[in-house]
């Protein structure tokens, strides 16, 4: 019997080491970018955040002081309006897909559309809201902005609701049905309760997603230097304010843009982490 020849190991080992370093390095790059952005936003934003920032209306360019209370309120109102419309509709749609659809062709198409809509550029949704509401009414309005945000939320809520409801074991439904409860009660009182933390996560993630959106508001809600009156008017909001102020030549405005960036980033990261936490708590 001839002795087996040993395959040289050095080349393979070196290659493996190289790939390991490359992989770890890539992860480091990703983390570095995250912390770089957060660091910049925090250090530059903190200088702009003071009491006036939260309590006063914006000043004209060149006049120091003032705040963004109107934009903060506007962002909250727009997000709330979108949430109030999109969440119930999305929950119900998710219920149908998970509980009743029996994987029909139509339900499949609905699922597919939700995925496509989630990947649709948000600015396209803005164009849609513009032609649907802004052109017929002849003016920019908060309604158009809220509609655009709602459209962006809808598929996210629908899909997470379906996924979360499917995780609820069938035995739970069957035992409730056996007690004589009608289907709608089983769904709303039993299945929803079992999937509660998952559903909250889905809603939180959807809110986090739209509250940082700028593109769909640029030509729907537009922006406004005034206090928020009604959704029928152009509505001030933080993200479009950031865009306008950042592009302005005034250092004071640019600093306010950083303050607004800090506010938005902090809010979204908190909501996102909260959502992940809710889900993880449930799992463990």
């Amino acid at each position: 019997m001839t002795p087996m020849k040993r395959r040289p190991q050095t080349g393979r080992r070196a290659m493996n080491l190289l790939v390991t370093i490359w992989a770890a390095g890539s992860a480091l790059i990703g983390i570095a970018i995250l912390f770089w952005i957060i660091f910049v936003v925090v250090t530059r934003g903190l200088g702009a955040v003071n009491l006036a920032f939260f309590t006063q209306l914006p000043t004209p360019p060149g006049v120091p002081g003032g705040g963004l209370i109107n934009a903060i309120a506007g962002t909250l109102v727009l997000t709330l309006a979108a949430t109030l419309v999109a969440v119930p509709l999305g929950l119900l749609a998710g219920v149908y897909l998970a509980e009743f659809s029996e994987d029909s062709k139509l339900a499949d198409f609905s699922r597919f559309s939700a995925n496509v809509l989630m990947g649709m550029p948000s600015i396209i949704v803005g164009v849609f809201a513009y032609t649907l509401i802004v052109i017929p009414l002849g003016k920019f309005s908060g309604y158009a902005g809220a509609l655009a945000l709602g459209i962006l939320m809808l598929p996210v809520v629908t899909r997470t609701t379906e996924d979360m409801l499917r995780l609820v074991p069938n035995t739970l439904r069957e035992s409730a049905l056996a007690l004589g409860a009608p289907r709608w009660r089983v769904t709303l009182a039993i299945v929803f309760r079992a999937a509660k933390s998952g559903l909250i996560t889905g809603v939180l993630l959807a809110v986090a997603r739209v509250s940082g959106e700028t593109a769909p508001l640029l030509f729907t809600a537009l922006n406004s230097p005034y206090w928020f009156h009604s959704l029928g008017e152009p509505t001030a909001n933080l993200t479009v304010t950031i865009f306008n102020y950042a592009m302005s030549p005034y250092p004071d405005w640019q600093q306010k843009a950083w303050g607004a960036s800090l506010l938005i980033t902090a809010g979204i990261l908190v909501i996102t982490l909260l959502a992940r936490f809710t889900l993880r708590e449930k799992k463990s």
């Binding site: 995250l34 496509v116 809808l154 959106e213």
Partner: protein, 334 residues
């Protein structure tokens, strides 16, 4: 969901001969009526999403008709974009969209696959979870924040360090010639790469994780290194899913708006150099839509939006098909 007693209409054939007392009978009827109504209500809601998707398409087509009628196919071949003379062409925007997306994918795909590899195969579980969360947080940061950081921090960084270096070492290529302005297509592409990276790596991570342990272990058992297992077993096994993930990232990059608008320079022209300012479909819409008043101008902008809609729709369809095929094939088991 499987057909079961949960759906009485599905014909389980299970009809026990119950003798119902009148009040129970009435109660059953009421609840049955409630159930039918509830079912229809949820059904109507589930139609909302596809309807919105189709409505967006129809609306974009009808609203862009005036521009398409006026310019015909020339709209897609003209580089001219002049609101004053009302002559519009989509070429420079489409070109910028494709080039910036290309740069983004060239950078993001190797990075995100390597990150997925790190998370699944190399890192200990605790580190993997923490790093995974951080990478996911990259996706949570809003586009406009990337824009602020890009314009005020990253673009100057590019102008002082990266672009002069590229100009010196690769300046013989027309791609890397010209003044290092910081803002431009290259910077936009790099920022796009950071933005789509979490989306690709999240799915690639799923794909790597879904490859059955036995398949990988048998390769490890033969003495293969981690890289060999990845390259010869995991990647071929999950190829469909990885391509799906790449397409998903591609769709994101094509339509990304605010970050690009901040750093691309917004010039309606095609330049050979990646250092030069340019524009994308999304950035043109973001910059000009709120100022457009002439119907033809608005219609031309909507036509640009239509192009973007069609491209992203196509990319989405491909990615959904690939991912679905993968998950379906794998859920059946090995």
């Amino acid at each position: 969901m499987k057909k079961s007693i949960l759906n009485p209409e599905s014909g389980g054939g299970f009809n026990p001969p119950l003798r119902l007392v009148p009040s129970a009978e009435r109660q059953r009827r009421v609840s049955a009526r409630g159930d039918t109504a509830f079912r229809w209500l949820t059904f109507a809601c589930s139609l909302l999403v596809p309807l919105v998707m189709l409505a967006i398409g129809v609306d974009l087509i009808t609203s862009s008709l005036p521009a398409l009628k006026k310019f015909g196919l020339g709209f897609f071949f003209s580089e001219d974009w002049n609101p004053v003379t009302e002559s519009f062409g989509a070429v420079s925007s489409i070109f910028g969209t494709l080039v910036s997306t290309c740069i983004a994918m060239v950078i993001a795909v190797p990075l995100s696959l390597a990150i997925a590899l790190f998370l699944v195969e190399l890192a200990p579980p605790r580190i993997s979870r923490t790093v995974g969360t951080m990478i996911e947080l990259l996706a949570a940061i809003p586009s406009i924040i990337y824009g602020m950081w890009g314009l005020f921090v990253f673009a100057p960084f590019m102008a002082t360090y990266v672009q002069p270096f590229l100009g010196k070492s690769l300046g013989f290529l027309p791609l890397f010639q010209g003044p290092p302005l910081g803002i431009g297509i290259l910077t936009a592409g790099i920022i796009l790469a950071f933005m789509v990276l979490p989306f690709i790596s999240a799915i690639a991570r799923d794909v790597f994780q879904l490859v059955p342990g036995v398949v990988k272990e048998s390769a490890f058992g033969m003495g293969a290194t981690t890289w060999e297992v990845t390259y010869k077993v995991t990647i071929p096994y999950g190829l469909v899913g990885i391509i799906g993930a790449v397409f998903l990232g591609l769709g994101r990059a094509l339509g990304e708006t605010m970050a690009v608008t901040f750093v691309i320079g917004n010039a309606h022209r095609i330049a050979a150099s990646l250092f030069a300012p340019g524009n994308t479909i999304a950035s043109t819409l973001a910059n000009e839509f709120s100022e457009a008043t002439e119907p033809l101008y608005i219609s031309s902008l909507v036509a640009l939006g239509l192009v973007l809609y069609l491209i992203t729709y196509l990319v989405q369809v491909v990615s959904q098909m690939l991912l679905r095929r993968m998950y379906r094939a794998w859920s059946v088991g090995l």
